[in-house]
Symmetry: C2
């Protein structure tokens, strides 16, 4: 099992079928595979050795997909980078993974240059195309010139990619995913959905995220067609669905809401849509209902998983997406364990809890990561006897449906992005005027939650909100920074073992509202 | 990945859904899994140790399926035995695998007793049920008494079953299939078909054969329903399809022909059928057309593979099953490589041949066997660098569709020319007087081998050799036409899946001589 194997299969079976369309660029499978094989040659000519890490920092494009395949084709390890991160955060991943090459588009050229400045080791910049002026070479040039490189016959246990994920303990972790992890998750999910080689998928969600990356592998496995837009924008997305007769798309709930609520929604033809997948953050009930009402012919799938499970663990089948009461409110569920996934809800001693009782989700399967890059201890704490400890709290009903009650209960989900409160707190704590702080999610009509900080200033200090926020901006991505701050003089409420009781802090903000936590 | 894992999943998700129906016995998933876990306890109480081999020699039943799961659940290795074999052939497999326990039904009790007599080591007989009087204990009793045994957490590389194959080239071989082989093939095939938990499968083909055994794993994986009939009989099969609203069934071409041609075909309701799978032997064109005409609403899949590939390598999608000329005669093809299967047609030096040229099929994938039991040398000759050498000759068209011409060992080499026996047989079958035929190579001093046909004439017909040969000359090249023909009234000897046993037919001609095969 190799992520690159279906490329050979598509070339053998459907060489002249269209594989990808990005703007006015269209490639057949034969052309695409040839480009990937030549790009792999080009990367090797630049000095890429087996298992070398190659980063990608870019908006969505066919070039991005070519890199996701070309790097493992050449025997390297691809590292998709979250382009919403600050350059300091990206520099951390670059240094941590000892990255040798970073591929960047025009949009993130400056960020990449800052990163190159800040890391100690040699890091080559490659442009996604000729518009990246500071790069000596670019993907297009590499793929145009070289002869084809033979596909590296990796074993299924070889790592093909490292996906950095925000750490709850501050520093982010590089999740090592193998060829077998990706291909297994692909086959597991394809076994329960009807995608075929006629399917047309729109990459609208960011490709650096494992949720969209899954479809890079899955659509290729089934021999379908890839369509790209650089980033999610409601009108752009709707237009692409209409123009390319998109059948399949994954979006986060915020994107779905924006798609459904755009003013000229009725002007677009969405009739080609067959399957719509969503996940990564809680789905507000109103949006779910709106979705089902506006797209009654579309099969909707709610998905749950983690980067560590490559990523899918559960799926809520389309037949449970209806607004009647027939299905005992299962539309709020994240669904059931997928084929070849074992899933249990356990207590703190690792014992399975009775149905209905909340505990931690643990899971086992061929899609569970090899481990965290360079963090053996953390790996062995997270994956025990093959069981991934998700850190997510949920209960399971009699039919095996899981209901996630508290995803790392302090995590804030704003506009589909996970924001780890400890990370924001760490930034605040670096400000001299902050004695104590806690960061929580508070209700926000547009983003679901917004980041709120509660600060106890040092004696005699009187920091301004503006000052604290701009301080944070220097350390972490803009979307993670507090939107509002409240101040108190008394110490924060603590639990027995000394943890800040965030549940208490959240209460006044959520009175009369139900916090949707995943 | 374990073959037994989906049992846990079904118990978790659909405990009260019906899992199996055999006659008047119905079990829910909860009941079935409990039976399997208790049967595993019972087997251990009888002395079963890890990796011990347990044989099954029986007609189809729910008990058979319980054994297929209970043995690996207990950590053992299950060995389904071909009940069409002679007791001497079965004794070979029993001795070769050093089998400790053999489970047998009433039908094969005497065979089992002969086998026990003839082998040197201790072999316990277990009855499928109480009707096997010579057995001290039986499956039903074991499962009724014991407490549940925890499922053995096997690794995906552990062998879960040994399937004895071929007697066609002399001694039979024990194909070792791992948990990962079975689960991979299951997911690979499910990824391209629409089976769901609503699917209802009829075990009509013999369960000892890997083709039906695949569905034991596959239907369980998707949480569908298993229905059993003891053996294929056209009326019994049709009745079961009607009574149980069967949606899925695998049959060999001979069975399909019998099902379609039974006198009271029109009396049955086949409307529940959704997918019909066939393979294991060549499909006569007339039968394929009859199938498509009589079941126009059914999706038909032609499958090709070997026991060594657990078993599927290719599938011909239903959309190529039509009698129009739209698909360039692809209805005669065995289809294209399945997801995660790599497949090539190579010459004797292992080099890929151009499309359209005949060569040997070789294949790679997660479903390729671990090896032949106790035959490392043969294993390394058969699986080289992960590539299974199938011994089947075929060509591939521009769309990756393969067309199987012959088993390499059935290919006749006469005067240096390769002659594919199936091609000659197809020519003979077009003659009205031919009911059944087989074409083999017999020793020839001048040409090495010469083409010999064995013909079973239709009742009342008495074709002349001269007439048959001149008929063939009109259809195929002169050098391919039979040089001699012998006639018989009794049917040709068949293997389990309905293949003509050419080894048997060749024997009298080759006595005292060694046949050179590739």
């Amino acid at each position: 099992m190799r992520v690159t194997q279906p490329l050979l299969r598509n070339r053998q079976q459907r060489p002249t079928a269209v594989a990808s369309i990005d703007g006015n660029r269209t490639y057949t499978w034969d052309e695409l595979v040839s480009r990937i094989a030549r790009l792999a040659s080009g990367l090797k000519a630049l000095g890429l050795k087996e298992k070398d890490r190659v980063g990608v920092l870019a908006l969505n494009s066919d070039r991005y997909m070519e890199l996701l395949f070309a790097v493992p084709w050449a025997g390297g390890i691809v590292v998709p980078l979250n382009h919403r991160w600050s350059s300091a955060e990206i520099a951390f991943a670059v240094a941590d993974s000892d990255m040798r090459i970073i591929c960047v588009d025009e949009t993130f050229e400056n960020t990449a240059l800052e990163v190159v400045e800040s890391v100690d080791h040699q890091l080559q910049i490659i442009g996604i195309d000729g518009s990246v002026k500071s790069a000596k070479t670019h993907v297009d040039g590499l793929a145009d010139k070289q002869t084809e490189c033979p596909e590296k016959q990796s074993s299924q246990d070889d790592v093909s990619g490292i996906f950095y994920t925000g750490g709850t303990t501050g520093r982010s972790k590089g999740v090592m995913l193998t060829h077998g992890n990706h291909v297994s998750n692909t086959l597991q999910f394809l076994s329960i959905i009807d995608m075929t080689e006629e399917s047309v998928y729109l990459h609208a969600a960011p490709m650096f995220h494992i949720a969209d990356a899954l479809y890079v592998y899955m659509v290729t496995h089934i021999g379908g067609k890839h369509i790209f837009i650089p980033r999610f924008e409601p009108a752009l997305c709707a237009q692409a669905i209409q123009d390319h007769k998109i059948s399949d798309i994954i979006l986060v709930p915020t994107m779905i809401q924006m798609l459904l609520e755009q003013p000229n929604f009725k002007d677009f033809d969405f009739s080609s849509l067959q399957r719509l997948y969503y996940g990564a953050s809680p789905m507000p009930e109103a949006v779910a209902h709106d979705l089902v009402n506006k797209f009654p012919w579309v099969k909707c799938f709610q998905l749950y998983g983690q980067t560590e499970s490559a990523p899918l663990l559960t799926a809520l089948d389309s037949k449970y997406h209806n607004t009647s009461n027939q299905n005992q409110g299962r539309m709020k569920s994240a669904g059931r364990a997928m084929p070849a996934v074992e899933l249990k809800i356990v207590d703190e001693n690792g014992e399975e809890v009775p149905r209905g009782q909340i505990g931690e989700i643990i899971a086992k399967g061929p899609n569970i990561m090899k481990g965290y890059w360079g963090q053996d201890e953390l790996t062995s704490k997270t994956v025990k006897d093959g069981w991934l400890h998700t850190g997510d709290a949920a209960h399971m009903d009699e039919g095996g449906f899981i209901f996630i009650s508290d995803r790392l209960k302090d995590m804030i989900i704003s506009g589909g992005e996970n924001i780890y409160s400890t990370e924001v707190e760490n930034a605040l704590y670096e400000h001299n005027d902050v004695a104590q702080c806690a960061v929580i999610g508070i209700p926000d009509d547009k983003w679901g939650e917004s980041v709120h900080a509660i600060v106890v200033p040092r004696e005699g200090a009187n920091p301004s909100t503006e000052d604290l926020i701009s301080h944070c901006r220097k350390l972490i991505a803009d979307y993670k920074c507090p939107r509002s701050i409240s101040y108190r003089t008394e110490a924060l409420p603590l639990s027995g073992p000394g943890k800040v009781l965030k549940t208490e802090l959240r209460k006044p903000f959520w009175e009369g509202k139900e916090r949707q936590v995943n």
